[in-house]
């Protein structure tokens, strides 16, 4: 290769940035907590009944906050209504317009029947909500998949990776919610340990699957074509290495996995600490994907 120096080019403008990463994180948490909520009311796993109501409340509230970050990011937020009248079937953002409208509405109906004690309708709207919850987070993966300028994003891995990390962060949040609620808002202050163990088991397998997907992704990028290799090097050895390797992978996935699978130390504080690390890890993952993906200039 010839020695060459870049003397002049126009620096690339950031297209997505931090607000979009936060948006992805919040929709992920919402989808995750919604699915936990339906375990009891949709599928009849009685163990998770204590999380049914709080799960749907959190899912709804988060999904109402999340689109605010889209408005903050957008240059012309007052034109958001354009999204409803000018549609483009090939744009995932256009799909999202409807998912982001239908999903919270369904959450509210589902929650209404749950609080009313109507088991049949709760189950119905819970089951309708599951594909919606999966789509509302899956579509955010497609947003990145279709942004083909960036090697890290233009991959069919994005939707499934985003769905898995959504469930990971959602279950971790539910562990924290269980601990906080039982400790502070019950008379006995006794934490429901059986529930915690159930969530812990779920988190274990989700973390294993998430690690498999994330390491496959980075591995294939590293041995892939030029732009893929460059962005993988950025995450593995470059400016993003402390965030990707340490904060996201080691502290956010591997270490918590060890904590929740080590039987001798299994306790409420350990579960809480592991869940907190996972939540920080997934937030870092969103930032790594969004900011790392568009970090390398294109020309």
């Amino acid at each position: 290769m010839m020695e060459s120096v870049l003397l002049y080019t126009v620096p690339k403008a950031e297209s997505f940035g931090v607000a979009i990463a936060i948006y992805f994180y919040l929709t992920g948490l919402s989808a995750g907590s919604f699915i936990i909520s339906t375990l009891a009311y949709g599928f009849g796993f009685e163990k998770y009944k204590p999380l049914g109501k709080i799960g749907v409340v959190i899912a709804t509230v988060l999904l109402m906050i999340a689109p605010m970050f889209l408005l903050i990011h957008s240059g012309r937020p007052l034109r958001a209504w354009h999204l409803f009248i000018y549609l483009n079937g090939t744009s995932p953002i256009s799909w999202g317009t409807f998912l982001l409208t239908l999903y919270p509405v369904n959450c509210i109906i589902y929650g209404y029947f749950m609080f009313k004690g109507n088991a049949v309708r709760t189950k119905l709207f819970g089951l309708i909500g599951i594909p919606l919850a999966l789509m509302v987070h899956g579509y955010t993966g497609f947003i990145l998949s279709f942004a083909k300028a960036h090697a890290l994003w233009r991959s069919s891995m994005m939707p499934i990776l985003f769905l898995t990390s959504a469930l990971v962060s959602g279950v971790a949040m539910m562990i924290l919610v269980t601990i906080i609620r039982d400790k502070l808002f019950t008379k006995s202050g006794e934490v429901n340990f059986e529930l915690l163990e159930g969530l812990g088991k779920m988190l274990t397998w989700l973390l294993v699957f998430d690690l498999f997907l994330s390491l496959s992704d980075i591995g294939v990028h590293y041995f892939g074509e030029a732009e893929s290799h460059e962005v993988a090097s950025l995450l593995l050895f470059g400016a993003f290495a402390p965030f990707f390797l340490v904060l996201e992978t080691l502290m956010g996935k591997v270490f918590p996995l060890i904590l929740i699978t080590a039987k001798p130390i299994r306790s409420v504080p350990v579960y809480g600490f592991a869940a907190l690390l996972v939540m920080i890890g997934i937030m870092t993952m969103r930032l790594n994907v969004v900011l790392g993906g568009e970090f390398i200039p294109l020309l």
Binding site: E3, L7, Y8, G75, R79, A80, H82, Y86, P92, K148
Partner: protein
Amino acid sequence: MSRTRYGFLIDLRKCIGCRTCQVACKVENDVPLGVYRTWVKQVEKGTYPNVRDHFFPIFCNQCERPACTQVCPVEATYSMDNGIVYIDPHRCIGCGYCMAACPYSVRFIHPTRKVAEKCDWCWPRVREGHGPPVCATNCPTGAMMFGDLADPKSQIARILARESAVVMKPESGNKPQTFYIGFDDEAARHVDVDGGHL
């Protein structure tokens, strides 16, 4: 007669890197400070005394299969019949998705209008019959040529038929319609992770 399909041809063997195109565009299109619809990337290859500077005038390629129009959620950016990709500034919501999709990073958010903007080969000027885009008109060495690819008698079509010309990043699948002669692909792809400008 078939419909017009505009194309651009840049003969890099004639380009002297004077950046007249960059300046002319700023004036013609009222492009604000800090952003550019066109610029001349400069990469120096080799070491003294065997050295050469490569110049690459970069602007929107007005792709045949543009990624930007595919992802725009409100169809604010679209391909016209003549091939030029245009942006409706009144419809754009400034979400930045087109910027994320463009492999040539020629799009930007206008600092005050807060909507996406890019080169449109001076369409308002061409439409009114004021001649080719200003970058081509002002190029002192005649390195830039604008014309109708669909008309086999046009100068651009005749040159493209005979000379070997390439497009930037053909693997994008966007089918860009800006062609280069004397193009050093390795130099053109040179990027610095920290941005790299003077």
